[in-house]
Symmetry: D2
Subunit: 134 residues, 4 copies
C-alpha cells in the first residue's frame, strides 16, 4: 500500500515560456515542477519560506524530464507531485504534467537539506511525516 500522497497544482502557460515551434521551451517545465513543489509544501503545512526560517534549504542535486507531447501557449496544465523517497540525506520528488487527461511530461528532482552555510543536514522530520505519511 503506497503511503505517499499526491498533490495537485495547475498552471496557465504564459507567452513568455513558449518557443518558435509553439511549444513550451524545455527548461521551463522545471519551473512548473518548482511551482508545484512549493504548493505541495504549502498544502502539506510546511511552506518553503517557513522551512527557510528554520535554517533549512532544499537545493536540487538532480533533475530529469521526459517530454512525451508538447504544451502550448495558454494551455492549462495539471501537475501531480509526490515525494517518493526520503533516504539518507536525499529526498526524491516525482512529477506528471497532463492537459485534459493527456500525459505531456514526466520528471523528477532529487534534493538535499542544507543549512544556510551549505552543510548537508538529515532531512527535516516534518518532511518525512508530511510527504511519506509516516
Amino acid at each position: 500500500m503506497p503511503t505517499d500522497k499526491i498533490f495537485r497544482h495547475t498552471v496557465r502557460v504564459p507567452y513568455a515560456q513558449v518557443d518558435i515551434m509553439g511549444f513550451v521551451y524545455y527548461a521551463n517545465y522545471f519551473i512548473y515542477f518548482e511551482m508545484a513543489r512549493a504548493e505541495m509544501m504549502r498544502e502539506a503545512g510546511l511552506p518553503y519560506t517557513e522551512l527557510e526560517k528554520q535554517g533549512v534549504m532544499l537545493p536540487v542535486v538532480e533533475a530529469f524530464c521526459a517530454y512525451k507531447s508538447p504544451a502550448h501557449f495558454d494551455d492549462l496544465l495539471h501537475i501531480a507531485t509526490r515525494c517518493t523517497e526520503i533516504k539518507g540525506t536525499r529526498l526524491r520528488i516525482e512529477y506528471e504534467i497532463t492537459r485534459d487527461g493527456a500525459l505531456l511530461v514526466t520528471g523528477h528532482t532529487v534534493h538535499v537539506c542544507v543549512s544556510p552555510q551549505g552543510k548537508v543536514l538529515r532531512p527535516h522530520p516534518d518532511l518525512r511525516r508530511l510527504f511519506m505519511g509516516e
Copy 2:
C-alpha cells in the same frame, strides 16, 4: 563635448528567449540591458560583484524599452551602453541594441545606490568618475 563614455557588448540570442512569432520576447531585452550594464561596470574597472563587496547595490527603480524592429533566434546583437546622468541619488543608463547596423531597440534604466539594509546612499564617487568622465 559629451563627457560620457559608450561601452559596447555583444550577445547571441538563445532559442530560450524567442517567442512564437520568432521574435525575442519583450521582457528579455531587459536581461540584455543587464548583461551590457554588468560588462560596462567591469570594463570601467568597478565590477558589480566588487561594488556589492563594498556594500552597495544598484536596484532598478525605472525601466523603459522601445521596440523598433524584432531580433530573432541566433542573431548577434550589439548593445551600446552609457551612463547619461548621475543626479541626487539617481543614476540613469541608456541602451541601444543594433544588428548589422540596424537599430532594433532603445531603452533606459534608472538605478539608486542602496546598502544591503535597503538604505538609499549617495552614488558611489567611482561611478561618477568612471561613467561620466569627471
Copy 3:
C-alpha cells in the same frame, strides 16, 4: 466618467523569478504584465489565441515599469490591468501590481495590431468595444 474597465489577476511569485537580493528580478514584472493582459483578454471574451486565429497579433512596441517596492518569493501579487487608450494603430495598457494593498509596481505597454506578415492593422473593433466600453 471613465469608460475603461479594470481587470484583476493574481500571480504567485516562483523561486525562479527572484534574484540574489530576494527581490523579483526587474524584467520578470513584464511577464506578470503579459499574464494579466492575457487574462484580461480572456475575461473580455477575446482570448489572445482567438485573436491570433483571426490573423491578428499584438506585439509590444513600448514597455515601461516603475519599481516602488520589491516583491519577494512566494508573494501573492494582485495585478490590475486596463486598456486606457486606443488611438490610430496603437493600444495602451496600464498595470498596477499590489501586495496586501501596498503598491509595488506600476507600468504600461503599448501595442500595435499586425498581420502574421507584419502589416500594421487598424485595431480590431472588438478591442475597442471590450476594453473601452464603447
Copy 4:
C-alpha cells in the same frame, strides 16, 4: 578510439539567472546546454537555423542534469559538449560545465529530428558525419 568530438563554449552568468541562495537557478543550466548545443552545430558547420531551413527541427525528448557545485553571478562557465550517440531516430548530447577547472554540472539531452509537421525523421546524415566523425 573515441570518434566523437568535443566542442567548447563559454557563458557569463547574468544576474537574471541567479536565485536567492546566490546560485544559478537549476532550470537555467538547460539554457546553457542549449547555447552550447547551438554553438556546437555552428562550429560543426550546420547552424541550427540552417537545419531549420532544410525542414528539420530537433526537439528535446529527454533532459537530465546533475548539480555537483553551484555557479554564481558573473562566473565565467566553460561548457564542453559532445554528441555521444546517434541511434535509430535519437541523438544524445552530453554536457559538462566547469569553472576554473572545477566540475559544477553534468547532464545530457536526447533529441529527435522532426519535420515542421511533427513527423519523426531519420537523423540528418550531416549530423552523423559532423558529430560522430563517421
